[in-house]
Symmetry: C2
Subunit: 362 residues, 2 copies
């Protein structure tokens, strides 16, 4: 429970008595418990799975009965969610939160997650509360050795998914066909279903248009592909993006785009080191792409800190960055080359390399 | 916008001025807008996508910029979520909610969804609020003609998924392999990724144990399979369950379990009609199964009303019921036969039948 101690330390610094975590990623960060998220809020849950973390390092989770069986080595309280009776799951949740708060002696100032803290808890917990979103993001950005192993495994699953994408991207398959073959490969490796962010897109229009969702469009000869994989593996998010052409020699215009994105990624790999200002990294990458004639309307990377022009944070060792300098052309399609990088003590490390090559089977 | 009028009618009856919808299913019910849920709360959203519905039938949606493009024919307000700058998404969300509330003239008593209403909105909206969870569930239970078409299509996707399950369940494939082939079939039919509740389980232990999740377990000759498919298709949830044996003749013990579950489902189909008390339907099904020697520790069906022993509600025309009388035996495995049924004016209709047969390829 190294992260409980780290979080308790932050609570001391910001003079907050209890963290009340309601975001799935935060609960997992602090307690190791992986909250199911794939259908949003479960119909048999009365509220989000919640974790109290005290400045004294006390821990208590509150969750629905169906979820409790999965918790290991942490104090928890369940309430009736899925059961064979008419029941008010929201009221059951509230009672369980109150019981846990009493058991732990929750009082004083609570630090909450503004985006996911249910209104009903305000009445129950009373007292003052303050958002700790920013403090949590900063703390979570630096991974512990245990978390580095989790991130490494997520990256390996993602690399396997990219390998599967190259094998399965053939004329006649639909985007959703290929995406689900990729999911199967990653999920078999994880040994479980993985919530999935990202996209698998084909053709000029789909790949050149941000916000497009995977569809039943069937792959055609010469299609550009963008394969952006973001599975949550054992509670930690992997990410990566490969780009290539289906069953044909890439055009010169496509190769120029690919080369720009690939070289910008290499540039990031060579520039990243502790102490580098995020805004400077962003500037370097955008400037490089712009010199080749490409502009991308999104961040140069994430998680926290997001690699955007006005982020003042500096890189620190054991941050994980998903770097994705991209090129889009409505006539040619889109290219995005993205690796998961770890900031090391002296530079950066590609967490799990995979083939970035515009030509399939090359 | 038939459901806006229906909801406005209910608000009038319960003397609530505005509904503040924050659950994805409720927002879709009232406005038709399908909120993405597959990774829980999006990291680039400042809170749940929210819909105000007035007693005067005013409608306004608040969502992050990336989501706004998908809204059709409804008044909406977006805020900066995904963008190329450092920004406080929670604060942006709050400002947009306030702007929309002002534009619509939201005042008086608000009806909220207790499980998903963010605490931060209380300060913003002020005034009194009351949970409308139960009223919403009752209202949503009766489908409009437009919704019946949506449910019918979801049922057709599910039936296609069950067909795929029978084709792909072969020795050597893993649970997750087969599940992702099923997803591909359903998602191709839907033309989009579908959030997915349910499970595909193999072998005696996995199928006999409630709460088991699909894994990389490889199917073996003679395995019992439980294939419970709950995809969300264009905002509406399909559901169904098939059970069968892989590549072998079922044992007598399995066939007895299958027959009991299958006949209980037929019994439900013949008993269901408007006016029937839910508790009575539940009693009939459990009694039938018990006479064959089987007890299932879960509801006999759902959605609202859930088919449980103490539910006093009565069935009404155009409710959709997912009926799933089941049998579990730690020595033999589990069997669950489930169809989506619509309550008609005189009885019930199987919305989209598919093969329920313990023998594959029979």
């Amino acid at each position: 429970m190294e992260n409980v101690a780290r979080l308790a330390g932050v609570l001391g610094e910001i003079k907050v008595d209890w963290a009340v975590l309601t975001g799935a990623d935060s609960v997992c960060f602090a307690t190791g418990h992986v909250v199911s998220i794939e259908i949003g809020l479960n119909p048999f849950a009365g509220g989000p799975t919640l974790a109290f973390i005290g400045r004294d390092q006390s821990v208590g989770i509150v969750c629905a009965n169906i979820e409790g069986e999965q918790i290991r080595g942490v104090n928890y309280e369940t309430y009736r969610g899925f059961e064979c009776a008419v029941t008010d799951v929201a009221a059951n949740f509230h009672r369980a939160v109150l019981a846990m708060a009493k058991r732990l002696g929750v009082s004083g100032k609570c630090g909450i997650e503004a985006r996911s803290h249910p209104a009903s808890l305000n009445e129950i917990l009373g007292g003052a509360s303050v958002s700790i979103d920013h403090d949590l993001a900063r703390l979570r950005a630096i991974k512990t050795p245990h978390e580095i192993e989790k991130m490494r495994f997520a990256a390996l699953c993602v690399a396997a998914g990219q390998d599967e994408a190259r094998k399965r991207s053939s004329v006649g398959a639909s985007e959703l066909d290929v995406l689900n073959r990729i999911r199967a490969r990653m999920e078999n490796m994880a040994g479980e279903r993985c919530a999935f962010a990202g996209e698998y897109l084909s053709g000029v229009t789909h790949t050149a248009t941000l916000g497009t969702q995977p569809s039943s469009r069937v792959l055609q000869k010469g299609d550009p592909i963008i394969c952006d994989l973001g599975p949550r593996v054992h509670g930690y998010w992997g990410d990566s993006c490969g780009s290539f052409i289906v069953d044909a020699t890439p055009s010169d215009a496509y190769l120029r785009m690919f080369q720009a994105s690939r070289e910008a990624l290499d540039l990031a790999i060579s520039e990243i080191r502790p102490g580098l200002k995020v805004s400077e990294l962003d500037r370097i990458l955008r400037a490089f792409m712009q010199k080749q004639g490409y502009v991308y309307p999104h961040h140069s990377g994430h998680e926290f800190p997001r690699i955007v022009p006005d982020e003042d944070a500096r890189l620190e060792a054991d941050m994980f960055l998903m770097i994705e300098p991209s090129a889009y052309d409505p006539e040619v399609g889109g290219v995005r080359c993205e690796y998961m990088l770890r900031v090391t003590s002296t530079g950066s490390e590609i967490v799990a390399p995979f083939e970035l090559n515009p030509v399939l089977g090359a």
